[in-house]
């Protein structure tokens, strides 16, 4: 019996596909490795400079010492408690602010009346640095978590409101016309056109707000808190414990990047049509 000819004809194509996929994967890995290698080299340089006595290790403790301190703080539970305290303010503030901001922005984008009524007011308020209202919030709510959560929420609110309103207004009018021509109106227009059409802008807002939220929660903890990563950093300064301060800085950096990575990932999930 002779071998069927088909597999042979298919094999080169299979190989070509595999080669393309392999190349794409190698490229991805190469870039990922590069992204890790650069910080690693910088850290090693820092370490070497510290050991060679080129920098003042009191102010710039070498990474190895920071790592040791980090493990100590983690083991004692202090680091975990501070991280939990910060998250306990950041996450509720972010969620409340984002939900309210997206809703307000959506209404202002859809309704010209609402946009005209609230637009100028909101853009005036937007330019007020939100951290400046913290004393007022403290006055109103006292020294507990509420003013801190609200400070985050207010910051996030404005970012979401502005991004969402402009996202709704920027939906391609040709798409709106085509949807209307097929009878889309009211709730159906909302669900099939306005919400998905505004989603990219909402997600841009969410990403921006995730960074700003971390900034605000840390700043608030500097001045008005007995716990949290912001307090950890500030307290390390007042007690002159540079290595503890660096632990706090690293923890904030990690928290911030994990937070925005989570938002980005959720965004990709929510917009499967943007796969390319």
């Amino acid at each position: 019996m002779t071998a069927p000819p088909r597999p042979r004809a298919v094999a080169p194509a299979d190989e070509a596909v595999r080669a393309v996929v392999g190349r794409a994967r190698r490229t991805t890995w190469r870039y990922a490795a590069l992204g890790i290698a650069v910080p690693a080299v910088l850290l090693l340089g820092w370490q070497a400079a510290g050991m060679a006595g080129l920098v003042d290790t009191l102010l710039f403790p070498p990474p190895s010492r920071i790592a040791v301190r980090c493990v100590e703080l983690a083991a004692s539970g202090d680091l975990g408690a501070d991280t939990a305290a910060t998250l306990g303010r950041l996450v509720p503030g972010y969620v409340i602010g984002a939900a309210a901001g997206a809703l307000a922005g959506f209404v202002m984008g859809v309704s010209r009346t609402a946009g005209a009524a609230l637009g100028p007011l909101f853009s005036a308020l937007y330019s007020v640095p939100k951290i400046a209202v913290l004393p007022l919030l403290l006055l109103l709510f006292g020294l507990n978590d509420t003013p801190k959560i609200l400070a985050v929420a207010i910051t996030v609110f404005f970012v979401l409101q502005i991004n969402t309103a402009s996202a709704v207004r920027q939906i391609d009018p040709r798409l709106l016309e085509s949807a209307r021509s097929y009878g889309a109106s009211g709730l159906r227009l909302l669900r099939f056109v306005l919400l998905p059409g505004a989603l990219p802008g909402v997600l841009t807002g969410l990403r921006t707000a995730s960074g700003l939220g971390v900034v605000v929660v840390v700043a608030v903890e500097f001045v008005a808190s007995e716990s949290g990563l912001g307090h950890l950093i500030w307290n390390a300064w007042t007690l002159f414990q540079p290595d503890r301060m660096y632990v706090g800085l690293v923890a904030v950096a990690m928290l911030g990047s994990l937070f925005s990575a989570a938002v980005t990932l959720a965004g990709r999930r929510a917009m499967p049509w943007r796969s390319r």
């Binding site: 085509s178 021509s181 097929y182 049509w273």
Partner: protein, 260 residues
């Protein structure tokens, strides 16, 4: 023989737009047009003469400044008219299947039933393999066919098509013209088709309207004498060439007007 009833008729349509600089731009001037059931009317004219505007007015998307439009009302869930837009305007965030089902969903048809009807049209338009993908993953020609599937799937008796084949390469375009011809012969929809291609207008249409440069008026109306069902081969005959030359003669003056 009885004359079929009018599906869309426009009387003395005029349309002004407010341009960005605040001046009024007249897009249409005294256009009257009656399209009867099962008729295929093609509209040709220089760019910017108001063809898309006329189509929008016929479909009720835009109100005319002067004149009146009468449409035979649809029977829900079937809409009175379905559009195929110049730039397709399929929704990028819906899957190909959901886009094809869009008209029916908006008319209140349940998802299952709408998608079944959509799938049948995707199959006819050769898009069944892409039903779960998104429009971004389609080529221009495929997106065009998706826009056609979306219009046909509504079951609307009236199709208003704005250069539906405009962005296709010449070979694909010719193929799609033949498919459209076959499709129309099976479905017998009432169609108004805007096109820049005289061949397309003569191959597909029962009537060809020639419009003037802006403000658009109907300057010539030509009944296409070829019997139905038509064979695409008529394009190579002498009669076809004569008609094309006649339309081109009228159109040429207008093109030079609008170029000035």
């Amino acid at each position: 023989m009885t004359v079929p009833p009018p599906m869309v008729s426009a009387q003395d349509i005029g349309k002004f737009f407010l341009a960005a600089d605040g001046r009024a731009v007249q897009a249409l001037d005294g256009v009257s047009l009656t399209v009867r059931e099962g008729e295929f009317v093609c509209v040709v004219g220089p760019s910017g003469c108001g063809k898309s505007t006329l189509l929008r007015i016929l479909g009720g998307l835009v109100e005319p400044t002067t004149g009146t439009v009468a449409r035979r009302p649809g029977q829900p869930p079937v809409p009175p008219a379905a559009f195929v837009f110049q730039d397709f305007a399929v929704l990028p965030w819906l899957t190909v299947r959901s886009n094809a089902a869009f008209g029916l969903r908006m008319a209140g048809v349940r998802r299952r039933a709408a998608e079944r009807a959509a799938d049948a049209w995707l199959l006819r338009m050769d898009l069944a393999d892409f039903a779960d993908g998104y429009p971004d993953q389609l080529s221009g020609g495929m997106r065009q066919r998706l826009a056609l599937a979306r219009a046909f799937a509504t079951g609307s008796p009236v199709l208003l098509m704005d250069e539906p084949l405009g962005s296709l390469d010449p070979q694909t375009r010719r193929l799609m013209q033949e498919q459209l011809l076959a499709l129309w012969q099976e479905e017998r929809k009432t169609v108004v088709l805007v096109t820049h291609s005289l061949d397309e207008a003569l191959l597909l249409g029962d009537r060809v309207l020639v419009m003037s440069a802006r403000p658009g008026r109907v300057i010539e109306e030509l009944a296409v004498p070829f019997a139905r069902p038509r064979d695409p081969g008529i394009q190579d005959g002498p009669e076809f060439g004569r008609l094309r030359a006649r339309i081109w003669d009228r159109l040429r003056d207008q093109l030079s007007v609008s170029a000035r």
